[in-house]
């Protein structure tokens, strides 16, 4: 790829002039605002939390209440001595792991991340493409409807979802059982697909899927919008040429759209990884802070909150945060290697 700044031409004039051109130092000026703000406001919290992770600190006792702990908080979180190594090759390893707070929360976080993240992108990309190609006048309303969930805040939505998912009185159960009971001349064609009884959505086996669904609901539109805006950058004439050559919609998608979307896919997936690994609000509010029966929906961020504020151990919460930092960094790096184009 050609570089944006012209190569130093070895004319007599340039050799005499100093080598410092505007395009050498201006980039630093351009990226400076971020770093200035970060150094002013972002660095201290970062360093402080790293510092705090080595202390035992009950918040309500003020700064004076910090007691040195060393690596103890990290050891406490990871429970390396409690890991059931002996059972590694049996199935029991995973169920034993479930008994350990941090590892369970990590597992939950990954589960929720995949269950909500994968569908987000698998659906957003074709959807954006479909809307981009096929919708002319209906484009605005279409995108608007998908983007709405992203705009709402969880306070308002909690009430609505708890009303919708209510076991005996929720609209969802009424629709589902209604469809199951839908009969045509005495025959119930849909009974095999839909449940006959009201589903108790509060049961623990539903907790994770519901939380995952709601997260998906929230973000699929956001990803669709991202991909839609990226689709704008693909020149129309490429598609026109392909159409004239006789390529169908699917083929154009596979050979034109996807490769050109790749940077945006990398970007959006990175955001999803970072966001999903820090999931807090949705599972917290939807389970009322408990994480569900057996804490099946308790994410690492929720555990951080619990340890920091309820258990009164802010130092350990900071340790958890830094452990997560490493996990997220590793995954982001992996994602970059796998999906990223060598620039």
């Amino acid at each position: 790829m050609s570089t944006p700044f012209p190569p130093i031409r070895r004319t007599p004039t340039t050799r005499r002039r100093s080598a410092l051109k505007p395009w050498h130092y201006m980039p630093y000026v351009f990226v400076a605002p971020f770093f200035i703000l970060f150094l002013s406001f972002g660095l201290f919290p970062l360093l402080f939390s790293a510092y705090a992770s080595f202390f035992r600190w009950e918040l309500s006792s003020g700064l004076a209440g910090m007691k040195w702990e060393g690596w103890g908080n990290y050891a406490f979180v990871l429970q390396l001595d409690a890991l059931p190594w002996k059972q590694f090759f049996t199935g029991a390893f995973w169920s034993e792991l479930h008994g350990l707070d941090f590892w369970r929360a990590l597992y939950n976080t990954f589960w929720l991340g995949f269950a909500s993240g994968l569908p987000q992108h698998l659906i957003a990309i074709p959807l954006a493409y479909f809307i981009h190609m096929k919708f002319r006048r209906a484009r605005n309303p279409a995108i608007a409807m998908y983007f709405l969930p992203y705009i709402t805040n969880t306070v308002a939505i909690t009430l609505v979802f708890s009303s919708l998912f209510s076991r005996d009185f929720g609209v969802i159960n009424q629709v589902l059982t209604g469809l199951a009971h839908f009969d045509v001349a005495g025959v119930r064609p849909l009974a095999w697909l839909f449940p006959d009884q009201n589903i108790d959505w509060g049961r623990p086996e539903y907790t994770r899927p519901i939380v995952a669904f709601i997260i998906w609901w929230r973000f699929v539109g956001w990803n669709t919008v991202l991909y839609l805006s990226a689709l704008q950058t693909i020149p129309k004439d490429l598609y026109e040429a392909a159409t004239i050559d006789g390529a169908g919609l699917w083929q154009q998608f596979r050979y034109i759209t996807l490769p050109m979307l790749r940077p945006m896919i990398l970007f959006a997936v990175t955001l999803t990884i970072i966001g999903n690994l820090q999931l807090f609000e949705e599972p917290f509010i939807l389970t009322g802070g408990s994480g569900g029966v057996g804490q099946v929906a308790e994410t690492v961020a929720m555990q951080m909150y619990k340890v920091g504020l309820t258990d009164g151990d802010f130092g350990t919460a900071s340790a958890v945060a830094w452990l997560m930092f490493m996990v997220i960094a590793a995954l982001t790096w992996l994602n970059n290697r796998y999906l990223g184009k060598k620039d």
């Binding site: 703000l37 705090a52 809307i131 983007f147 129309k236 040429a241 392909a242």
Partner: protein, 296 residues
């Protein structure tokens, strides 16, 4: 990228002809139906929020819940304002904070993204890596030191505490870098430089007009985030007159008799500016489309 050759007849399948053909094929309806179903799923909770805003508490909690709009909206608003007379002010504060944060972010992030994508300079990768790394730490633990910092600066109970620290988000620079890299041809930049445009002038005259969709997206997302953010306001504001709208709405939640009607009405009102903004934004997306057609 090669368009695969197919066995279709040499008759040119113009877009118009392809569309007309599609309508006759019932299978082609399936994706539309799915999209519609998806849209309904997206819409339903939102719809209920607005419906609940127009009903009384007893109606909302009744079984089955109301499916159509009622007439208690004004009563709910009146109840809301009676309980929280600073609601309108909090709405104004939220709008101001979100607006200022958005404008600042649009400027700084596009500038930063331009710098990272269009230039080569020593330390670029390290700096960008550092920028990415700042996104990776869960923000929760930064909460206490952030308050300490605001306390030292004497910025507690001010709007600038909520605007300035987030004036250039890592995510925004990331988005801009990626978009500018795809949307702005380097030849254009070089040509402008040849024409004697200063570096900043290139940014202002060449890059900015081309990144409409990304600016719109970033602007919308930043606005929404700043507008809906309550944690920051919770930490920084202790004066009721400085509360932002989400905080005020949350302050109505207690055990027992929560005024759901008032909360829903407040949420509906609070979300309106976002809807307006989104309508404006999606128009921009259309404009971006036509601009894209002209280039290349």
């Amino acid at each position: 990228m090669s368009a695969s050759t197919s066995l279709l007849p040499p008759v040119a399948l113009t877009p118009a002809r392809a569309r007309r053909r599609a309508w006759r094929n019932p299978v082609a309806w399936v994706p539309y139906a799915l999209v519609l179903l998806g849209a309904v799923i997206m819409l339903v909770p939102f719809y209920f929020m607005f419906v609940f805003a127009t009903h009384t508490n007893t109606e909302i909690l009744s079984v089955p819940p109301p499916l159509w709009f009622g007439d208690a909206f004004l009563d709910n608003v009146r109840a809301l304002v009676a309980e929280r007379p600073h609601f309108w002010r909090s709405l104004g504060l939220s709008l101001w904070i979100a607006g200022a944060a958005t404008v600042l972010n649009l400027f700084f992030c596009s500038l930063g993204g331009y710098g990272f994508s269009m230039y080569e300079f020593p330390g670029k990768n390290a700096l960008f890596g550092g920028l990415m790394a700042t996104m990776l730490l869960p923000a929760f633990v930064g909460m206490i030191p952030f308050v300490l910092l605001m306390k030292e600066l004497d910025w507690l109970n001010t709007t600038r505490a909520l605007i300035v620290p987030g004036a250039c988000s890592a995510f925004g620079v990331f988005l801009m870098r990626q978009y500018i890299g795809s949307a702005v041809p380097r030849e254009l930049v070089e040509a402008a430089r040849m024409d004697g445009c200063g570096e900043f002038g290139i940014y202002w005259r060449v890059v900015v007009p081309l990144i409409g969709p990304a600016m719109g997206t970033l602007g919308l997302v930043t606005f929404i985030g700043a507008y809906n953010n309550f944690v920051g306001a919770l930490l920084v504001m202790s004066d009721v007159d400085m509360f932002t709208a989400p905080l005020v709405l949350r302050s109505l939640q207690g055990t027992g008799q929560t005024p759901w009607g008032a909360i829903s009405a407040g949420s509906a009102i609070t979300v309106l500016p976002l809807l307006v903004l989104f309508v404006l934004y999606s128009r921009r997306l259309i404009e971006g489309l036509t601009a894209g057609a002209v280039k290349g």
